[in-house]
């Protein structure tokens, strides 16, 4: 088990280093960092001095090592646009994105699982067909279009719910939250639905597929033969066994929710990390771009790692497989 964890950790480190290399290449070779930092009136000597101070004259491998060491200490340098440390900018917007991501993850689970169970248990009913057709539309509609349609429907036509921003936020230490005020909660509804709709359809289809598989197995037939109630069979036995793969996918999807949040944030002008990254891409603010890249990669790799390890804990076959191939 320990060997398995160490091997997976090593893989994760290699992935992170590769991403760091891409981020470093961006920072170092796309545009000149010195030109980006100084004004037009800076003299050549001052530029040379800055170049020396930043260590841009050192050999490239040393520069890369320094970049990685700084990144590990969360030092990503200053933003070209705002002239303030990138990490402060990101820390400022991190809570907004996290609250949005978790709200939509909870939304997609709370609606997606019951819909999946229903469509699996009542395969031929007209409601199931409607759910399935709706899920196909949910997969086909681009996120931003869903957001625009929701804005058109609720704030514009019906005049309910805000269409942009986070509402009132409270500051709890370093964390700003919109979950404790009415306007904050109201502002969260539409963005969370927009972001969660795609995951919801995904989870619904997954639960349906898994449920249909499980319902065909012998132990379910046996449970029915023992005379257990439908309720006990469907929920006590079938659903329980469905949830392991569902939880895995849901965990892995959390990473893409955080990354995809940037589209929703742009539609609803939600002040999160994604909006910061988008503005950075538009203004070629490379320190923010590379920091965001590393952060998203870190979140992805960490979630993957946790899911893999949990899987190995739950399912011993994976451990044996892994050590057999090694």
């Amino acid at each position: 088990m320990l060997a398995f964890i160490i091997r997976r950790l090593l893989q994760a480190v290699i992935v992170m280093l590769t991403v760091a290399l891409i981020a470093f290449t961006l920072f170092r070779f796309v545009g000149d960092p010195v030109n980006m930092m100084v004004g037009i009136e800076t003299t050549a000597e001052e530029r040379a001095q800055l170049r020396q101070d930043l260590g841009l004259n050192d050999p490239i491998p040393i520069q890369f090592a320094r970049f990685v060491a700084n990144a590990a200490r969360l030092n990503f340098g200053n933003s070209y646009q705002f002239k303030t440390p990138v990490i402060d900018l990101i820390a400022d917007r991190f809570p907004a994105t996290m609250e949005l991501a978790f709200a939509s993850a909870i939304f997609s689970l709370l609606i997606g699982i019951p819909m999946g169970v229903y469509t699996a248990l009542h395969r031929r009913s007209w409601r199931s067909n409607i759910f399935l057709a709706a899920s196909l539309i949910g997969i086909s509609l681009p996120t931003f279009l869903i957001g625009i349609l929701l804005i058109f429907l609720f704030p514009v036509t019906l005049g309910v719910l805000p269409s942009f921003g986070r509402g009132e936020v409270l500051r709890l230490g370093f964390w700003t939250t919109g979950l404790l005020t009415t306007s904050g909660l109201k502002a969260l509804i539409l963005p969370a639905i927009t972001l969660g709709l795609f995951q919801m359809t995904l989870i619904m289809r997954l639960v349906r597929g898994e449920m249909l598989e499980v319902l065909r197995t012998d132990y379910i037939k046996f449970a029915r033969a023992r005379g257990l109630s439908d309720r006990a069979v469907n929920f006590g036995h079938a659903l329980k066994n469905t949830l392991v793969p569902v939880m895995t996918i849901a965990g892995l999807q959390l990473g893409s929710i955080i990354a995809f949040a940037l589209i929703t944030e742009s539609v609803f002008q939600w002040p999160g990390m994604g909006l910061l990254f988008l503005k950075a891409v538009q203004n070629v603010d490379i320190p923010i771009m590379s920091a965001y890249l590393l952060l998203v990669a870190f979140i992805f790799v960490t979630i993957n790692l946790i899911v893999d390890i949990l899987y190995a804990v739950v399912d011993p076959r994976i451990r044996i497989d892994a050590s057999a191939t090694a």
Partner: protein, 318 residues
């Protein structure tokens, strides 16, 4: 597999014509059986034809500044109060006919989507073939690169490539460059799935007798790969390509919507929706909603075609 030359003449005579063979095939049979698929094909065909023949169909040319009058801006569709004759679906903020702009916009969206899919396909198939056939370090290197890339959602990679191009070209990014940057950034973000699938099938094909025979008589590896192995692994690739076309169109629209794609002077469907979003609150919904419906219909139809193709080509489901 027998060719016509080897077949005895009496069998040849009883053979149905090629057209009949196509019409009798499983693919066409399952196509004609599914009403949803036929509807999807019709929708796709209508949008594609509209896009291809946009210059002949569109009542106005949205790129021709002499045909645009700012006085006609933000007109509602023709059936609403204030709607005017040539503008069936109304006009946008610059006085461009929404219907014509949708036709021209679909042209951009489809062109970028198709080219990006082809690029991703060529890249992914080649890398998959090489990885599967060469094995060893080459295989490990290509597949680890695929692993790293699949750590990121495609849209992020596309955004990153787009941002890099901004830094490299500076402000002189003209429309021609933007078009190819979009193709490149979307194409480069979708190759992984092709590579994985093709590598898997190549591993199976490589140990078959025909490959061994080809190697024995000394055919060059590249020729074996592309002339002999490729035709045998291309089936599942078609399905991926269809689904990826829908994804590429969505990605292009999203990038354009985020202001990273095609500029308002040469809009795609995504750009049009972005322009229209600003006027949604003023009640001028038609600028965003009609391109939105077109985009949704196109993506849904292509997805349905992909679903059908997957089921029809999968012998397990028959």
């Amino acid at each position: 597999m027998t060719t016509a030359a080897e077949t005895p003449p009496e069998v040849l005579m009883r053979r149905p014509s090629r057209l009949k063979a196509i019409l009798d095939s499983d693919l066409i049979y399952s196509f004609l059986r599914s009403r949803v698929t036929i509807a999807a094909a019709i929708v796709t065909l209508v949008i594609v034809l509209g896009a291809v023949f946009a210059p002949y169909i569109a009542p106005k040319n949205p790129y021709d500044l002499t045909q645009i009058s700012i006085l006609d801006s933000n007109n509602p569709p023709i059936w609403m109060e204030g709607g005017q004759a040539p503008y069936v679906l109304g006009t946008d903020d610059q006085g461009r006919d929404v219907f014509s702009t949708i036709l021209y916009g679909s042209r951009q969206s489809l062109a970028i989507g198709l080219m990006a899919t082809v690029l991703a396909g060529i890249l992914g198939i080649s890398l998959g073939l090489i990885a599967g056939y060469a094995g060893g370090t080459t295989d490990a290197f290509i597949m680890r690169a695929a692993d790293v890339q699949s750590t990121f959602p495609a849209i992020l990679i596309a955004m990153l490539i787009d941002g890099t191009s901004r830094a490299l070209f500076g402000e002189q990014r003209n429309e021609q460059i933007v078009f190819w940057v979009m193709v490149l950034s979307i194409g480069l973000s979708f190759w992984v799935q092709y590579a994985r699938t093709v590598r898997g099938s190549t591993l199976v094909e490589k140990s078959k007798d025909y490959v061994l025979a080809a190697r024995l008589i000394g055919i060059a590896p590249m020729k074996i790969l592309f002339r002999h192995v490729l035709p045998n692994v291309v089936g599942p690739v078609l399905v991926i390509a269809t689904i990826n076309l829908a994804l590429a169109i969505i990605t292009e629209a999203t990038l354009s919507f985020l202001g990273l794609g095609l500029p308002p002077t040469q809009p795609s469907l995504g750009t049009l929706i972005q322009i229209g979003q600003k006027y949604l609150f003023a009640g001028e919904w038609w600028i965003a909603i009609f391109p939105g419906i077109t985009l949704a219909a196109l993506v849904l139809a292509v997805n349905l075609l992909g679903d059908w193709l997957r089921d029809a080509l999968n012998p397990k489901l028959r």
